[in-house]
Symmetry: C2
Subunit: 345 residues, 2 copies
């Protein structure tokens, strides 16, 4: 990729910024008039020609202005990744909202999704943090009626999973409580590996419950297994590039089918570290549905303990200047909250 002169750089960024705002191909004349660059439209035309040659811009048709290519957006994003900070006032507003909400992971996730969608005017997704290796903390067995038993399993760090199980025959609450307290004594603090390695229990009920516990712990140990929260699905429908509804449908469908979404997030974030953002532009050739979209992603949480993923989907023409700092800020906020939850404030 050839070097850009300082002037080409300025011009390219200007063009992209203008296009993001106006959604219209930007022409040399418009550029010369609206921004006070001391250059004539003819000069700009020459430079635009060069930028087009280099693959940063393209023309929808012979006599139209220029539109950024994916490569162009990539350059744009790489330039703004570093400096962009969310304005103080917005930071305060967001942080305020979090501290006002009920101190509960569920609420935080919902709020995070809502904030991301609102600030970026895109579709947000937040995956709840999960422990990379769950450690057993506590189990409760509560008989509901007859043979149905509610099992509430708590991991170190406060992750909770519940399940209703049906026993072969009715068992008294008393006996259930005894079983639970036996298991609590036995398993406290153990990761699933260690539990799996334990010798078989003599008591059949103990053994059954143990198996279920293990099953539950493994289920929650998958990297992107946390619950998914999304918001702002409708935001994307107002964008002009999605007015032909078929494109929009395909992108939204991806967000509705949780398994595909998980796959996407898993593949793109596995080797990124907390605090680092990833920007996926135009599906990167791999996601046909996202040909016209970009996604800004971040991992959050406490590495080695509990991590999750969050991000925003928008048209390729989305306001990166707003979205990137927002995603970064919210990821930081959630990381702090997760950290507090784990270390006990």
């Amino acid at each position: 990729m050839p070097e850009l002169t300082e002037r080409q750089k300025t011009l390219l960024l200007l063009i992209i910024r203008d296009y993001i705002e106006s959604a219209q191909p930007v022409g040399s004349k418009r550029l010369a008039e609206h921004y006070h660059i001391n250059l004539s439209s003819a000069t700009i035309r020459n430079e635009m020609g060069a930028l087009t040659e280099m693959g940063y811009l393209r023309q929808p048709h012979t006599s139209a202005g220029r539109v950024p290519t994916e490569e162009g957006y990539r350059y744009f994003v790489s330039q703004m990744m570093h400096n962009a900070e969310l304005p103080e006032t917005i930071q305060q507003t967001i942080s305020h909202q979090f501290h006002q909400s009920r101190a509960d992971m569920n609420q935080w996730m919902t709020l995070a999704a809502s904030v991301l969608a609102y600030q970026s005017q895109g579709v947000s997704v937040v995956i709840a943090p999960h422990a990379e290796q769950s450690r057993y903390k506590h189990v409760e067995l509560i008989s509901t009626q007859g043979r149905q038993v509610l099992m509430v399993l708590v991991m170190v760090g406060g992750e909770v999973s519940q399940q209703i199980l049906t026993l072969a025959e009715p068992v008294s609450q008393e006996r259930l409580s005894q079983t639970a307290s036996r298991l609590n004594g036995l398993l406290a603090g153990l990761p699933s590996d260690a539990i799996a390695a334990l010798p078989t229990r003599s008591d059949a009920l103990d053994q059954d419950i143990l198996t279920l516990i293990l099953q539950d712990m493994r289920r929650t140990a998958d990297p992107v297994s946390g619950e998914i929260y999304t918001d702002g699905l409708t935001n994307v429908l107002s964008e002009p590039e999605f007015s032909d509804s078929d494109e929009a449908r395909r992108a939204l469908k991806l967000f509705e089918e949780r398994s595909t979404l998980r796959d996407l997030l898993a593949r793109t974030t596995t080797n990124s570290n907390i605090g680092g953002l990833q920007v996926l532009i135009g599906g990167e050739g791999e996601w046909e549905e996202l040909r016209q979209c970009s996604i800004v992603l971040a991992r959050y949480g406490v590495p080695g303990m509990a991590t999750g993923t969050l991000g925003v989907l928008g048209p390729m023409r989305m306001s990166y200047a707003k979205t990137i700092p927002t995603v970064r800020y919210v990821a930081g906020l959630l990381s702090d909250l997760v950290n507090d939850t784990i270390t006990g404030e």
Copy 2:
């Protein structure tokens, strides 16, 4: 509203059925040719004129076919409400899916939403059942770290709510367990009213927890307070009436903003009984966003114990013949499952 002759009735139903399929205004000639009614197009024209006069049909413009009015759809729906049954094979498929899934309310809700959306090609919504008057069953207090305590509250019937609370100062797990077991002895089986009426506890911790329990119980006692599950949001985007994306956006937005959705469902289902369907056509003048949509709703569950709401949103032109029996069948299925859960299988 004037009486319809038998012939007008047949014709009206035929026109609506055709329009639902084709999404095109239906003309007299087409009708005469495609369906073997032994009537000429001229006769049909006369009858169509009469039906238009009566308010069941209307013409988009002078020289177009007829399109059903809301009144027309209402008549259509009222005619088919009774006889429509879901084909045996589909019933079996659905029932099979439910019995294969994990026996857990969360799974059932997700599945119900998915089935409804798939079968009707519309947007589905399912609100989890909730007890109309929660009765206390059991509380667990689990210290996580430091001053953070996880409270798991179980109601009679298996409804669970969990909350993390932060105490003024650290309390040992032992003391938490004692508190929990004291409260369990004291509150077992009581509804929130009775708990509110109890005298103040001498122990400060007891009293604090008690207040929180009460707060939680009241929160879950609101008629449509159950968790909301939706699916098929993108289905509606492929319908031709929503190709201008603004209309679609407004309808989908309603489904994304849970509070408005709750309001809608609460208002329309309060006085309907289990098993009875409600069909809301064109927003019924009250919901501007739904001017072009219809909603088929049903309540399910066990009256007086735990009930929920489910339904499907689609264009006014949706396939009622498919949607109505599906909604009815799924509502019945969930009612049975809820009943089993409550009575202990």
